[in-house]
């Protein structure tokens, strides 16, 4: 199961696991869209994404964009090496990730 949503102490957390590609994109987005639109706190954990193509990157861009909105209560967990590598290859600099890089 590529995507799993759990309610933990600090709110809801969505775990994206395995491949995040064109084959999983529709299902993943269907699960994510209502959560991203909700005002409730949300954490998206991308640390277990094993591979990522262009379609997967677009979903990550949408999550990052939602997390960057002024009133957003969305937190992005640390990306997996696959996600980082795909972002670098695609020349994409996403605000939540680049902020984290500067913090560390």
């Amino acid at each position: 199961m590529p995507i799993e949503s759990r309610t933990l102490d600090h709110g809801r957390t969505v775990f994206v696991r395995g491949a995040l590609s064109i084959w999983e994109a529709a299902d993943t987005w269907r699960t994510l869209l209502p959560l991203l639109s909700s005002p409730d706190p949300l954490t998206v954990d991308l640390s277990e994404v094993e591979s990522c193509d262009g379609a997967g990157l677009q979903i990550i861009c949408q999550i990052a964009r939602a997390a960057g909105l002024p009133d957003a209560a969305i937190t992005l967990g640390p990306p997996s090496p696959s996600v980082t590598a795909a972002l670098v290859r695609a020349g994409l600099v996403l605000e939540p990730f680049s902020n984290r890089a500067q913090e560390t």
């Binding site: 064109i22 677009q58 979903i59």
Partner: protein, 702 residues
């Protein structure tokens, strides 16, 4: 084809050296994606070009290694010590195949298979069952061939805007970008501005678009080939942005780039320039361009500058590959020229012909310039020798269960190629000693209040006509008393002998001396430092050692910059002429019959209150005849002590072209070579170190 195969081998050796360095750096910085890319590219080129030039064994072997590093690039396989170990073994195996060709593989077929099994174990079952689309034997990889002909590079701006159905056509834009990256250095700028609001977002449509700045020597057709199966699913614009012949122009400015890209009208740039803020800020403020557009233009500006710098470095670092033998022949010819020029000078001086003298002066100046240039061509940075040591430290410390860090400084210091080649063994010997006996195990270091990781520092620097290499470790140091005990045990020192710590330390350079408690596979066989010292003396260098028990050991190697031509002092003994290397000479003093009488038959001289021993060369070489009433003593500095060599007459300083002696003279220790003088006669070059050691030994015996 043979020439191309040779060119491939040369390039492959260079790639393997680079690969080794990159792997060792990667072990220290496993998250460095640039290093992973470098390793991948090296493997990719070795494989692709190998298949192209008939090195099928190498191509087949490298294929699986490359596959694993492709997964590392994707982040699917982590960089671990195990992976680096395997990759280093693979690198050694490829080198073995290059060295010995296919016969080597036939001799040891299991070795390669064992390494490959290790790599395959790292791949997931999915990877292992993947169809082998990139079989190097049937479909050579699109790596740059090892062509000896340089290709002209050009920079391109590629605007790649996929239609929304690109994904549904089965195309992964990242794969296309990767293929472009395989053509040369590139910068990828991804745009997200076409992504719609979440509610309107269709995850199977492509909204991302890219601009790729690429420098390649493969031409525009190679770029078009990348998009051959995607051209109906995207808008593609490929424009050359920098012609090599326009490189003398300054890098394009931001405004010029924005205008060239059609992002802004020239008038808008002019208006903005009349105000005082930075152009990018002004254009964004005036909403003429978006921040993303300015960012992309700035990235393009930086890329153009970087590419130009790289090209400048490449052209200044020399793009002509010349065989070492040709350089050696050139040095020999210059040597002949120096000799002929000396004869010409001698003739001109003897004839006192003003016109001939004027011409001779010009020839002399030009010969000196030519000599300096030719010798400088043979100079190589000492880093080439250091690079091999990193692997040694890594492998040996792992084998011995020690943690050791190697720091090198001054790798850019240049030395004659021949000196560097012959320096390798002494350096390896010293480092092996340091790792095996010097640096303690982490437990012992912890107990001694030291950090668990030991450090070895190597620092090279110029010092006049020499290069000094300092090798320092923070290990256990050498105990002079242990040396004393060992020397007495081996009969090299009498138990009553009174020796300072410094003198005791020098004893480790005696043949057969070893303080190692146990003989290991690494060192301690008693053939250590004496061999190192002899090798350095062959190079006309010297070695100095200091050590503090518990604190570490410091070794300094002193080496001449070149072995081909030296400055020497020409001296005469009877009818014979000899050359003494000028580097060790301090001064010349007269030796009268009165001095000899005052010393009561002992070969010593009082120079400004210092007692200096000397060696009468006439006596040593059994030269018959009567010496002049006033002889000359050439004072040399040897291991911090002054010692003299007595000759009949000092003729003067000369440029000496060293000629090696026939093997017939290989056992004559005191002669290091010969040279041809201006009048065509031959002078022997004395090995002062060896001569004066005899004097030392005689003094010790006395």
């Amino acid at each position: 084809m043979d020439t191309q195969r040779e060119a491939y081998k040369i390039e492959a050796y260079e790639l393997l050296a680079e690969l080794e360095t990159s792997l060792l750096e990667l072990e220290q910085s496993p998250d460095d994606t640039a290093l992973v890319d470098r390793v991948f590219r090296a493997m990719h080129t070795i494989k692709g070009s190998g298949a192209m030039f008939g090195f099928d064994e190498i191509a087949a072997f490298t294929h699986d290694v490359e596959t694993v590093f492709d997964r590392v690039r994707d982040g699917r396989i982590p960089v671990t010590t195990h992976l680096v170990n395997l990759a280093l073994l693979a690198r050694d195996h490829i080198k073995g195949l290059l060295d010995g060709g296919a016969e080597a593989e036939a001799n040891d077929p299991d070795k390669g298979a064992g390494i490959l099994a290790g790599f395959r174990a790292l791949l997931s079952p999915d990877d292992a069952s993947m169809p082998d689309e990139t079989d190097p034997l049937s479909n050579p990889a699109p790596a740059a061939p090892a062509s000896p002909t340089p290709v002209r590079e050009q920079m391109f701006r590629i605007q790649f805007t996929p239609y929304d159905d690109l994904f549904r056509n089965g195309t992964n834009p990242l794969a296309l970008i990767d293929e472009l990256a395989g053509l040369g250095p590139c910068r990828v700028i991804g745009y997200t501005d076409r992504l719609p609001e979440p509610a309107l977002f269709d995850p199977e449509s492509c909204y991302l678009h890219w601009e790729i700045l690429l420098t390649t020597g493969r031409g525009i057709d190679a770029i078009k080939d990348v998009f051959i199966f995607a051209e109906d699913a995207c808008d593609l614009a490929i424009e050359p942005i920098d012609e090599p012949e326009t490189e003398d122009r300054p890098s394009p400015r931001l405004g010029e780039i924005l205008v060239a890209r059609g992002d802004v009208a020239p008038e808008a740039v002019e208006t903005a320039l009349h105000r005082q803020k930075r152009l990018g800020e002004l254009l964004v403020e005036s909403r003429t361009v978006s921040p993303e557009q300015v960012g992309a233009a700035l990235a393009e500006q930086a890329f153009v500058q970087e590419t130009r710098q790289r090209r400048e470095q490449q052209s200044s670092s020399g793009s002509v590959r010349v065989a070492a033998e040709k350089l050696d022949a050139l040095v020999n010819l210059v040597g002949e020229l120096v000799t002929v020029q000396a004869r010409l000078s001698q003739k001109a001086t003897a004839d006192r012909d003003p016109e001939l003298l004027a011409i001779t002066e010009v020839v002399e100046r030009l010969t000196a310039e030519l000599r300096d240039h030719v010798l400088s061509v043979r100079m190589l940075p000492i880093e080439t020798a250091f690079a091999k040591l990193r692997r040694l430290v890594r492998d040996l410390s792992g084998e011995l269960g020690k943690r050791i860090q190697l720091h090198t400084e001054g790798g850019e210091t240049e030395l004659d190629k021949t000196v560097i080649e012959q320096l390798n063994d002494p350096l390896v010997h010293i480092l092996r000693n340091s790792i095996d006996h010097g640096i303690e195990t982490p437990e012992k270091r912890g107990a001694a209040g030291k950090s668990e990781q030991g450090t070895i520092r190597i620092h090279a620097e110029h010092s006049g006509a020499n290069v000094l290499i300092h090798i320092q470790d923070d290990g256990a140091g050498i105990d002079p008393q242990q040396i004393r005990r060992k020397a007495i045990e081996k009969g090299l020192l009498s138990p009553e002998a009174d020796k300072s710590d410094k003198e005791l330390l020098q004893m480790i350079f005696l043949p057969g001396f070893s303080t190692a408690g146990a003989v290991t596979s690494v060192s301690g066989r008693g053939v250590g430092m004496d061999v190192v010292k002899r090798s350095l003396e062959t190079l006309r260098g010297s070695i100095d050692l200091t050590s503090r028990k518990g604190r570490g050991t410091a070794i300094t190697l002193k080496l001449p910059l070149t072995l081909a031509i030296i400055d020497g002092l020409l001296v005469e003994l009877g009818d014979e002429k000899f050359v003494l290397p000028l580097a060790a000479i301090e001064s010349c003093v007269e030796l009268t019959r009165k001095h000899v009488a005052d010393a009561h038959g002992r070969n010593i001289l009082n120079i400004r209150g210092q007692i200096v021993p000397y060696l009468p060369l006439r006596e040593r070489f059994g030269i018959e005849g009567t010496p002049p009433a006033i002889e000359q003593v050439v004072i040399n500095q040897l291991d911090g002590q002054q010692v003299g060599i007595v000759v009949d007459r000092v003729i003067g300083e000369h440029q000496i072209v060293i000629k090696t002696m026939n093997t017939l003279y290989k056992d004559v220790q005191e002669i290091s070579g010969a040279t041809i003088l201006g009048d065509g006669s031959v002078a022997l070059i004395l090995d002062v170190q060896k001569l004066l050691h005899e004097l030392d030994d005689a003094a010790v015996a006395a």
